[in-house]
Structure formats: C-alpha cells, structure tokens
C-alpha cells in the first residue's frame, strides 16, 4: 500500500513536471501594463492595438489596464512576472523605476519599458517613437494651408515630448511660411473631451484656421469640423470623426515592434537595447492625406516624408534659435538625441511661455 502510494505520487509528479516543461517550451506569454483604460481611443488604445497584433502572430498575451505609476505598478509587475509571463511591456514613462526594480528580482523575465531611459539590468530594454517626425509633416501642411497665418495647438502637459512636438511642428511650418504664428493652449489633461473641445473653440474664436493637438480625444477634430476649419488627428486615424476637417493623422504603430520583440524572446535572440524608431521604421505612420490638400503641398509632404524616413533630412536641422534668439542648433548641425530627450524651451516663432 505504502509503496503503491509512493509510486503513484512520483509518477504523477513526473507527469506534472513534463506538462510544465512542455507548456514553457511551447509558447511565450507576453504581458502589457497600461496607464489608462483601453477605451481611451488614444495612447493606451494604440498600445492595445499592438498587443492584438502580437496575439494575431500566435502568442498568448495578457494586459492590466489603469495601473497607477506608484507602488501599485511594482505589485502588478511582480504578479505578472510570477505568473509565467516571459516578456512584460510597461507602456508609460512613470513605470521606469518600478520596471527596473522588479526586473532585478526576475532575471529570466524580459522587460520592455516605453519612453524611458533607464536600463539598469540586462533584462530591461527601452523603446519610444519619434513622433516629432510626424509633427514636422503636420507643420509643413499647416504652414502651406493656413490663410489666417494663425495656427492653434492644443497641448497636454509641459514635458519634453510635447514641447519637442510643438517645436518640430513650428519649425516645419516656418520653413514653408515664415509669417505663421503658433498659438499654444495647455489643457493640462491627456483626455477630457469637454476641456479639449473648449480649448480648441477658444483658439478658433481667436482666429486660428488650423488646429493641431497633442491630447488624445477626438473632440478637437469634431469642433474643427463644426467650425469649418482644418485639424490633424492624434494617435490614430481620426478621419471618420471629421472627414472634412482632418487633413491627416499621425498614428502610433507599436504592433510591428511588439511582434518582433516577442518573436525574439521565443527564438532566444532577445537582447537589451534602446529603440527610438520614427517614420522610417514604421513606428510613426502618416495617415492618408485629405483630398483638399493641393498637389504642390502633397508633393512637398511626400518628399519630406521620404527624406525623414531615409534620414536625409532631420526635423531639427540648424540654424535653430530659441524664443530669445539664442542659438540652439548651429547651421548644418542636427539636434542630438540627448538634446531632443530633454527639450524644455520653445523655438523662435512659438508664442507665449511654457507653464511651470
């Protein structure tokens, strides 16, 4: 009896072990940690589109949404790492320290942190997109199409990512039209349709005939449609929300990167690196141009897009001056990534001050 018990116990253990090994060898599981709800139709929504691409490529995925950038993030990460996930994508800047901390405890799990710069352990990689390249395209279109020479820009929070976008947009617009003025309104929110609409309305009432946005909801393009002015979509193609107003959108396209990295984990070729991809690598996508854009502008845009993709043109090519007229980037030089990552001053031609 005793012997029988031990034998069955051992055999079941062996059986269980084989099962586990088989499960581990068979599929790679990826987890995604989101700052907002997947229903925001903006930042988190686009990451979730990327996750679905990973799923479509045949991998198992899980996600946790609405995770605060606090000690909660550590708890969530630890739980995901403990429950058999091989790679974890943390998709907000504030997860930087929690990601590195938990990565130390789980050396066999790969961590991918979006928009950060800390890679303290060999199993942490970082990635971000050069959205400012897309904004250079928008600036070119806006500078060519404005009649009032006043361009409105609804911004979210005064951080380098947003200021870089404003600068890139303004520099490109000035290149095609030296008379333009960029009026900035800070909404201090990433998505609050009501507030964003009010900010856009204020800019339109003050004479802006093109509105750009660095907030996530579709309220701004809808207000532009009602008021009969032009606008640009953010994060995803917003054309269907305002078919007449939207000239084009800058789309965040994380899918290809996510699939590539999860495949690398599966093949055992994953390595630590810092990725900052732009139009050339397809992480930043320009939606179809609206038919109302005249052909001469269209060809200018296509050329710039090709040159940005090939690296022939950099969105921040000197001479670039700040608002006070101090030289930021010398003639013929381009801004390096360090300068771009910490950009906290407006270039010449942007109106107003950066709020503190």
């Amino acid at each position: 009896m005793h012997k029988l018990f031990i034998r069955s116990f051992v055999s079941s253990l062996v059986f269980l072990f084989t099962l586990t090994v088989a499960a581990v060898a068979k599929d790679v599981k990826a987890a995604f940690v989101y700052i907002g709800p997947t229903g925001d139709h903006g930042w988190t929504y686009q990451h979730d589109v990327g996750r679905k691409a990973v799923e479509a490529a045949g991998f198992k995925t899980t996600y946790v949404e609405g995770v605060p950038e606090s000690a909660d993030a550590e708890r969530v990460l630890r739980q995901l790492a403990n429950s058999g996930h091989d790679v974890i994508f943390t998709t907000s800047f504030g997860y930087m320290n929690p990601t590195n901390k938990v990565a130390k405890e789980f050396p066999n799990v790969k961590f991918e942190h979006a928009t950060g710069y800390k890679r303290e352990h060999p199993n942490v990689a970082t990635y971000a997109a050069r959205f400012y390249e897309g904004r250079a395209i928008l600036g070119t279109i806006a500078g060519s199409m404005t009649k009032s020479n006043v361009i409105g820009y609804v911004a979210s929070f005064p951080i380098p990512e947003v200021i870089r976008g404003i600068n890139s947009f303004t520099l490109a617009a000035q290149k095609v039209n030296p008379n333009i003025k960029t009026k900035i309104v800070w909404a201090f929110t990433w998505y609050d349709p009501g507030k964003e609409a009010e900010a856009a309305k204020a800019l339109i009432d003050q004479g802006a005939d093109i509105i750009a946005q660095h907030t996530d909801s579709t309220a701004i393009v809808q207000i532009a449609e009602k008021a009969g002015v032009y606008a640009f979509g953010q994060a995803s193609d917003m054309d269907k929300f305002a078919p007449k107003a939207v000239l084009t959108s800058v789309e965040n396209n994380w899918g290809p990167y996510y699939v590539e990295r999860v495949k690398a984990v599966a093949n055992g070729t994953w390595n630590q690196k810092d990725t900052w991809h732009g139009i050339g690598d397809g992480m930043v996508v320009i939606s179809d141009l609206d038919p109302s854009i005249p052909s001469n502008v269209r060809s200018k845009v296509k050329k710039l897009q090709a040159d940005l993709a090939s690296g022939k043109v950099h969105a921040f090519t000197g001479p670039i001056y700040d608002q006070k007229g101090n030289l930021m980037v010398a003639e013929g030089k381009t801004a390096d990534d360090g300068m771009l990552a910490g950009m906290m001053t407006y270039v010449k031609g942007v109106e107003g001050d950066i709020p503190k």
């Binding site: 709800p37 201090f188 009010e198 800019l203 909801s217 995803s236 109106e351 001050d353």
Partner: protein
C-alpha cells in the same frame, strides 16, 4: 487682437454651452437634496447617461430614443440608490459613493464596443438667425433643444418649489420628515420620486456630453463634472437661480482661462482648475458663519435616514 462684440458673444455662447451639463445635473440633485436625500452618485449617474445615450444612438439611430433612454438609464441606476437608502435604510454618503464607482465601472464595460465610433450630428435650432443681431445672436440662436431646456430648468425648478403644492411637499419632507409623515405624506414615496427625478436629469446631463457637446464615447468622459455639479448645489445654497449663475462661473473659468492662454496672458492654470472648489469652500465658510442662514437654506434632514414611515 481686436475685441469686437461678436467675439464677446461667441465667448459667452461657449460658456453657456459648457454650463449646460452642470445646470441639468445640479437642478436634478437640488430636488433630491431638497427632499432630504444626499446622493453623491451624480458622477456615476451622468456617466451611465453618457454611455446609454451614445450606445442607443449608435444602435437604434434615433436621437429621441437615445435622449429618453439616457434619462431612463439615469432613473434605473438611481432606483438602486433609492431602494438601498429608502427601503433598506443604508447610509446616504456611502451608498452614493458606491453608486459613482459602480457607474464608472459599468459604463466602461458597456462602452468597450463603442470606442472609436463617431457620433451622429444633433440638430440645432434657429440656425438661420445666427447672424441677425450682433452680440446676442450667437448667444440666443443655433443651439440644441437640450441647451434651451437647461436654461429654462432653474426657473421651472424655482417655480415648482415655491409655488406648487408638490413643491411644498418636497420641501416639507426635506425639512421635517416626521411632521410631514404626521400630516399623512408618504415620505418614502416622495423621496423615491425625487431621487428618480435627480437620476433622470443626471442621465440627460451625461447624454448632452456624449451626444451633443462632444459626440463620442470615451471612458470617464464626464471628467469630474458630477462632482462640480454637487459642489454647485452647495454653492447655490439650494437655490435654483443661483445654480444658473454658479454654472456660468464654474464653466466660464475654463473657457476664459483658455482664451487668456491663447492671447498670451500668463496665468497659473492649476489654480484656475481648482477655483470652482475653492469658491465652493469659501461659500460654505461664509454661510456656515450665519446659523440662521444655514437653517433657512440647508434642508434640515439632508442625508439623514427616515425610519418611521411605512
């Protein structure tokens, strides 16, 4: 920049449009509170109204069904609150907070399939008269029917409370449920009705946001307006006409702030965002210094459960 009368008219019109959801929700909550019930679930009822209106508009294609459906959804969710606080005699504050959390959660769940769908255009009226009178035209004409209803509502509410018999009953129930009950008034029934009415108005306020103001569905799209509406009821010292003024001030702060930014005036944005709440606290401090004023304006039994009636 030239400031002309039409520009001022446009600003006032934007302020009024932003005040609409605040007026609707506050006037609804005011009736609820006047009957002695404190419902902190305004934000939750608004967000339920927002998703219900948007979902019904998308599914049925009918704006009328959507607007009334949103109000009905507000009524349904407030029925839960009424049942808990009136029949099961739970604590008003805790139940109201739970209602808000519940509303935000369930709206997100229903809303999953409605993200990224453009809304339908809501018809506006008197559009042809938009350029006839300087200054006044943009204020008076070219708005949705809900807009006009919202600006009539404080006056209707005021008339209802002061001049009608049912209004008197509501006030009596709120001030002294025991006396009202002794007079043969069914306190529970009156409070049920007032809670359900508050739910309908909050539902309409939410539908205004998702169907008219910014026609789309996004999670949490009410963005704390329910809390401002609650603050507004206190700010108004339970007077519907003052709600109108308060909603214009609260709604106007954001819009004036954006205009000042666009002109290039440097102002601390964070301070202006906090201003509605600061103003409410100041009003609370001012009225609480005068005990007679408190007794006259605050419904005496506000937030207290009533057991005796059956």
């Amino acid at each position: 920049m030239i400031i002309d009368v039409n520009f001022v008219g446009l600003i006032i019109a934007s302020i009024m449009a932003s005040a609409v959801p605040l007026i609707l929700a506050s006037c609804g909550e005011l009736i609820t509170e006047r009957s002695g019930v404190l419902n902190l679930g305004v934000e939750g009822m608004m967000i339920i109204g927002a998703i219900s209106g948007f979902a019904l508009m998308t599914v049925t294609g009918s704006l009328i069904i959507a607007v009334f459906g949103a109000m009905l959804a507000g009524v349904l969710i407030s029925t839960i609150f009424a049942f808990l606080t009136q029949t099961l005699i739970t604590n008003h504050v805790a139940t109201g907070l739970a209602l808000t959390i519940f509303g935000i959660g369930i709206s997100a769940m229903i809303g999953k399939n409605f993200v990224g769908i453009p809304g339908k255009e809501f018809p506006i009226i008197f559009e042809g008269l938009k350029d006839t009178i300087p200054l006044l035209s943009p204020i008076l004409f070219g708005h949705s029917i809900v807009f006009y209803f919202a600006f009539a509502l404080p006056f209707i509410t005021s008339y209802f409370l002061k001049k009608t018999k049912i209004g008197l009953i509501v006030r009596a129930v709120g001030d002294s449920p025991e006396s009202a009950s002794n007079q043969g008034i069914n306190v529970k029934l009156v409070r049920y009705a007032c809670i359900l009415y508050g739910g309908a108005m909050c539902g309409l306020a939410g539908a205004y946001l998702s169907m008219i103001y910014t026609p789309q569905w996004i999670e949490n799209m009410t963005g704390g307006r329910g809390w401002i509406a609650l603050a507004l009821v206190v700010f108004s010292t339970w007077n519907p006409i003052k709600i109108l003024i308060g909603a214009m001030i609260f709604g106007g702060l954001t819009i004036i702030q954006f205009h000042m930014q666009a002109i290039g005036v440097r102002i601390p944005v964070q301070f202006l965002t906090a201003l509605p709440y600061i103003v409410t606290i100041i009003v609370l401090v001012v009225i609480s210094r005068d005990s007679r004023k408190i007794r006259l304006s605050t419904p005496s039994s506000l937030g207290k459960s009533f057991y005796k009636d059956n």
